[in-house]
């Protein structure tokens, strides 16, 4: 995920928990929501949290825990709410999406003698995409069973699924048009 957007994803997640949230829980929420699509490690997440705190979008309160180190609980500030609203209302970026690099590149250099390599690549890619879909399906069921409100989360997952399905459709299209007739 682009770092600009990560900032707002974090703001959005903090905003969804008015009672405040600590970094560990935030990371867990993030993973539950996105897993391999928006990978974020603790280091990056805490850098973003620090940055948002310095900007005044978040406020952090140290919570004292007995027998364990204190933890910082983050809450959205009025300024943070404004930043989030501004971002939500701004038009969606119209940057072109990158081509599906390797396959597109190979298509450009396709010859009789390397069609087979392309076919292997497509097969391998389809396997990767199907495995990714299986992971989304498992996560969806886990979340449904955990009682999470699926209204919004479900839509995000629908989007992820539709993108992967489109990629698979494209691979099968290439297969039909080129690999099996070349």
């Amino acid at each position: 995920m682009r770092s600009g957007n990560l900032k707002y994803a974090v703001l959005g997640l903090v905003a969804s928990q008015p009672e405040g949230v600590h970094g560990y829980k935030l990371k867990a929420d993030f993973d539950a929501l996105s897993d391999d699509f928006w990978q974020v490690n603790y280091g990056r997440l805490y850098r973003v949290l620090d940055h948002l705190e310095q900007r005044g979008d978040l406020e952090a309160v140290e919570e004292v825990q007995s027998g364990r180190p204190n933890k910082k609980v983050y809450r959205l500030t009025e300024r943070g709410r404004q930043s989030l609203d501004d971002w939500l209302l701004q038009p969606v970026s119209d940057d072109p999406q990158p081509l599906r690099d390797e396959i597109s590149l190979r298509l450009l250099f396709l010859r009789d003698d390397n069609v087979e390599a392309l076919a292997d690549l497509i097969k391998q890619q389809r396997g990767i995409y199907l495995t990714r879909l299986a992971r989304i399906a498992r996560r969806r069921r886990k979340l449904e069973k955990s009682g999470v409100n699926m209204k919004v989360v479900g839509l995000i997952m629908d989007g992820a699924e539709m993108r992967v399905r489109a990629d698979i459709t494209w691979l099968e299209h290439i297969e039909r048009k080129i690999v099996r007739t070349f």
Binding site: K123, Y129, L130, T131, L133, R138, R141, V164, R165, R176
Partner: protein, 238 residues
Amino acid sequence: MIRFDSVTKTFGNGRSRVLALEDLDLVIPAGEMCAIVGPSGAGKSTVLHLAAGLITPDRGAIRIADRELTGMTVDELTLMRRREVATVFQFFNLLPYLTAWENVALPLRLDGVGREEERERVAEALDLVDVGARAQHKPAELSGGEMQRVAIARALVIEPRVILADEPTGNLDSTAGRQVMDLLRDLNDETRVTIVIVTHDPVWASTCDRAVRIVDGEIVEDLSFREPGGTDPPDTVH
């Protein structure tokens, strides 16, 4: 367990002869939920129809629960479909002049099950698929998703070892399709009934434990989606 050993099947003869499957080897362990995927005309449905004993192979052996299908008489095959192997189709195949209840009760009546037992089993099956409230409606009064769930109840009511589903979501929108797939997934998770689903949709295939891809009558890919460390079903129950 379902087992295909070098199964070949052709349709038609002479110049219009079509090779649907060639020397197909496939093992689906008991308790597995397996998707058969591939382009249309690849032989997916042929696999299902062979497993259901609806058609016979030209060559090779098919076993379900260690019983050889190819040696069975027509009556034995009918009995197998009535008691052990249930089928679910894209267009539901419900009888239009019967209510949902009567459609589900049909296989039990054909098998001579007593009325009291019938009442119990039909009610349970309809509840399981969440259409109990629509029991007295005829198919024309039900939505596509409800019709398919009634068809699944009809499959379940015989307490089958195997459910064979041919494009069960093919005639449903994505919401109803997901409900049907969730239902099949829950059934497999809870009862470990073996389920084989023919589908062309990768999203539905990925909700299964495994996807076998068939192109031009041959298996070209066999992917397992089981989570590492997840609980595997026992493979020799039946």
